[in-house]
């Protein structure tokens, strides 16, 4: 089936909310970290996988310019190369797109065929090569889910990654959902007549469950979300989602993608290019799971709820 309004809405909302938290909340940390050799049965055996202890990486290069964050750097660092040192002490560096280097921003890892200049060529890290990179990790991972709130909160079996306090010595398992995180789901959709000529206002309720072990961070997200009321965000087509099935940014060499980002992905650019097709956040309601009942769930996890009512003026029948 062709992508429909619902798909466009969720894609647009995901990208906007991700950028909004990072831009206005500086919800990321720049890190320099080692990548550890991992196995992944879901991938073809030709891929050699190296995973950092953190996920998700920021892939929005538009956050870098003009932003001075509290760490003193100029915004979030988007990983675009890995570097290392051979056993003989010589350094090497591989940039994204060469030597088969894919970066899985979603799972905090890279796919790499080996060091091209090693002897023999294509030597893999893990034997006598170290592998590291600089990247920005989101303070809150964002996942689109169809799980209900009760499934998320009651059955939560999430790994709580205290990623900024502990010294991690292994890569993180791919595909697992890791806290702190925000789970978003589009719950209901309704068209209401708005004007003659078939113009409707499509009202969509998007709900977000925020889960974190840090009350301060929870308050940050809820406060930012509440301030988003009456904001608008750009429509981004389902096909224009910036990452591939490997979690890497769509590049021009992959001609099967409808939209690609040959010079990197920047939400600021998307916003500038889409000033007419907008979604409007009519209402935002935020709430926290009360302490009284939180103890019955998981006393170490703080849970918040955000209810967005999003409006879009459109002609659904033509």
């Amino acid at each position: 089936m062709k992508p429909q309004f619902q798909h466009t809405l969720v894609t647009s909302f995901y990208l906007w909310f991700d950028n909004y938290l990072q831009k206005y909340g500086e919800a990321y940390k720049n890190k320099t970290g080692i990548f550890y050799n991992m196995t992944d049965d879901r991938l073809d055996s030709t891929y050699n996988v190296y995973s950092s202890p953190y996920k998700q990486f920021i892939f929005d290069s538009g956050l870098h310019s003009g932003v001075v964050n509290s760490q003193g750097t100029e915004g979030a660092i988007v990983l675009d190369r890995i570097s290392g040192q051979r056993a003989d002490g010589s350094a090497f560096e591989v940039t994204r797109g060469t030597s088969g280097l894919h970066i899985d921003y979603e799972n905090g890892r890279v796919f790499f065929t080996g060091d091209p200049d090693s002897s023999p060529a294509g030597k893999l890290p893990g034997n006598d090569l170290s592998l590291s990179g600089q990247f920005a990790v989101k303070d809150f991972n964002i996942y689109v889910t169809n799980q209900t709130e009760e499934d998320l909160v009651i059955e939560n079996k999430f790994k709580t990654n205290d990623r900024f306090g502990n010294l991690e010595t292994s890569g993180i398992v791919p595909y697992d959902q890791v806290l702190p995180a925000i789970f978003i789901t589009s719950e209901s959709i309704k068209n209401k007549p708005f004007a003659f000529g078939g113009l409707d206002v499509t009202q969509t309720n998007v709900k977000a469950v925020v889960m974190t072990s840090d009350l301060y961070c929870l308050d940050c997200v809820l406060s930012l979300a509440a301030d988003a009321q009456k904001r608008s965000f750009a429509e981004v087509g389902f096909d224009s989602f910036p990452t591939t099935e490997f979690g890497d940014i769509k590049s021009a060499t992959e001609s099967y993608h409808v939209d690609t980002y040959p010079t990197g992905y920047s939400y600021n650019q998307i916003e500038n290019d889409n000033t007419s097709d907008l979604f409007h956040i009519e209402e935002v309601n935020v709430s926290k799971l009360s302490d009284r009942v939180k103890k019955k769930v998981n006393p170490n996890i703080f849970v918040g709820f955000i209810d967005f009512e999003i409006h879009k003026y459109r002609r659904p029948r033509g």
Partner: protein, 193 residues
């Protein structure tokens, strides 16, 4: 036949004086009609299946709105909670008030709660920033029933223990307070003497 022109000031004066006489005649009739409309609104509220189920608390099992257990337990209320009474008290405060007489017109105003006022007065027991009253119409998470587990400190006793049954009931959204308020407003708009 000569024409008589009455000065505008005189007409205004007459109208103002007339209004003073009209008000005592009109007010009791309006009050009577308003009282009937208000009583009908309260009756609609009391007779609504959601109200009735919530008043029966956990005894309303099976429920017409949740697939397992009672609506009261599903939302996560405590045994001692009386959620519908809060709403009823606010609706009961609706009133018809005389405002003024000006230019021969007798002004009355009807005071009734907005949906937003009602929503802010009806927090969910487990997430006080959310309204259960709004949730009845727009959908409500089943989190309350899990938090209300069958334990010593069970609050309503109508919940489902999460470890044994995590695939519990689902709630069907239904028209509730909006419909009752809209009917009330429609009748107020049609008030006539």
């Amino acid at each position: 036949m000569s024409r008589v022109t009455i000065p505008k000031g005189a007409i205004d004066a007459i109208a103002n004086q007339a209004a003073r006489f009209v008000k005592p005649e009109v007010e009791p009739r309006l009050m009577k009609q308003f009282k009937e409309i208000k009583e009908k609104m309260l009756l609609d509220f009391d007779n609504h299946p959601v109200t009735q189920e919530l008043q029966r608390k956990t005894d309303a099992d099976p429920s017409a709105f949740v697939t397992r257990g009672s609506l009261f337990g599903f939302i996560g209320f405590e045994k001692t909670d009386d959620p519908t009474e809060t709403v009823r008290q606010i609706l009961k405060q609706s009133s018809l008030e005389f405002v003024r007489i000006k230019s021969g017109v007798v002004d009355f105003k009807v005071v009734y709660p907005s949906k937003e006022e009602l929503f802010s007065a009806t927090p969910l027991p487990w997430a006080t920033g959310r309204s259960w009253l709004k949730g009845i119409e727009s959908g409500i998470s089943g989190l309350g029933k899990y938090l209300n587990v069958d334990s010593i400190d069970s609050r309503s006793g109508g919940g489902i223990q999460s470890e044994t049954n995590t695939g519990g009931g689902r709630f069907s959204a239904t028209k509730y307070i909006s419909e009752i308020l809209n009917n009330f407003i429609k009748k107020i708009d049609n008030l006539s003497l």
